[in-house]
């Protein structure tokens, strides 16, 4: 009987000691939030455009971190963001489903605009200005070309135009990306710079 008690007591005490140690360790290594989702979110362009099928960049980051979503849904981020996320997650890179051939921006045909403000509410980056019953217009610098304003417009007065490549916005393309290849291909089409 004593032997049995010794066995139970020693094992119980031993397990309790480890339990206490682990509880202390749990306090020391406490994690707030999902660190993986936070890292992915920091890679995303934060346009909150919703083209990935999630209501914003943070929900998308959470879905990617938990494996619910593919890594190739972020259209504004493009191939570069996808490669970074795939590398972080340790999964195979996938090509972006709908890569835009050229950067697009929205344009409001002001003659037809009825000033309903629906597109202003839809714009994730606040790139449309206007007031009720006034013409709306798109701030070209802020528009990410996400096309979310097209759907709500009751009179279909928003067009997607190819973004004009302005000299003051021009920058060297990033090396080894799809856009860099496109830029090389389109190089001859631009007017030569004369100043």
């Amino acid at each position: 009987m004593m032997h049995l008690l010794a066995a139970v007591a020693s094992f119980g005490l031993f397990a309790l000691a480890f339990g206490v140690l682990l509880a202390v360790a749990c306090r020391i290594f406490k994690i707030e939030g999902d660190p993986m989702a936070e890292r992915i979110e920091s890679l995303l362009p934060q346009t909150q455009c919703g083209q990935c099928g999630f209501p914003g960049c943070k929900p998308y980051a959470g879905a990617v971190a938990s494996g619910e979503s593919e890594v190739n849904r972020c259209v504004p981020g493009g191939e570069r963001t996808m490669l970074k996320i795939a590398d972080l997650m340790g999964v195979e890179p996938k090509s972006i489903e709908e890569e835009p051939t050229a950067p697009m921006i929205a344009f409001v045909r002001e003659d037809e605009c009825i000033g309903c403000t629906l597109c202003i509410k839809a714009c994730p980056v606040d790139a449309i200005i206007g007031a009720p019953k006034q013409y709306h217009t798109v701030i070209a610098d802020h528009c990410t070309g996400c096309t979310l304003c097209i759907e709500p417009c009751p009179v279909d007065c928003i067009d997607m135009l190819i973004k004009p490549e302005l000299l003051e916005h021009w920058a060297w393309p990033l090396p080894d990306t799809h856009r860099a290849q496109q830029a090389t291909e389109r190089k001859g089409q631009h007017a030569p710079y004369t100043a």
């Binding site: 032997h3 066995a7 020693s10 360790a25 290594f29 994690i31 660190p35 340790g90």
Partner: protein
Amino acid sequence: MVTILPHYMSELTEFAVILLSAVLVNNYVLTKFLGICPFLGVSSKVETAVGMSFAVMFVMTLASTASWLVQQYILIPLDLLYLQTIFFILIIAALVQFIEMMIHKTSPVLYQGLGIFLPLITTNCAVLGVALLNIQQDNTFITSALYGLGAAVGFALVLILFAGLRERIEHAPIPEAFKGSPISLITAGMMSLAFLGFSGLVKI
């Protein structure tokens, strides 16, 4: 001519022999066939294999010393040798829980990469195998720690080599039927054959 080694030299030689035998000759994965699950499971990328290796190294070395202490100061005095397995499993499980928390905090990327194989170190038979073999071989505290470290280094060596091989095989033109697991198993078998070459290097 007989050279008489100083006492500490012979001890150092013994330590070297223990390490060498555990790393190469009696390699846990390729010679004793223990710990095959993580060997095949986390060897698809070198980065995760390195992370896993360090996790196993930590757990194995600490588990072998802790189990030796438990054996000497709890199980033998209380005559509870029949509780050996459950005590050792408890030690291993607690250590694995600890390292899981640590990795989750310090390297979420590695945590993601290791996935289910991190908590599964608990059931990595190589870890329990080292603890039990230490007792069977009547190792001292130091030698059991060395034996655990050696076994873990052997595991790490084989795992990282295998991961490197698999990364290269991924891009090799292999027949469709052998892609994935079959070629991995064949590679593992060949590595095991290669490690047979180390038998006889040291006698233990």
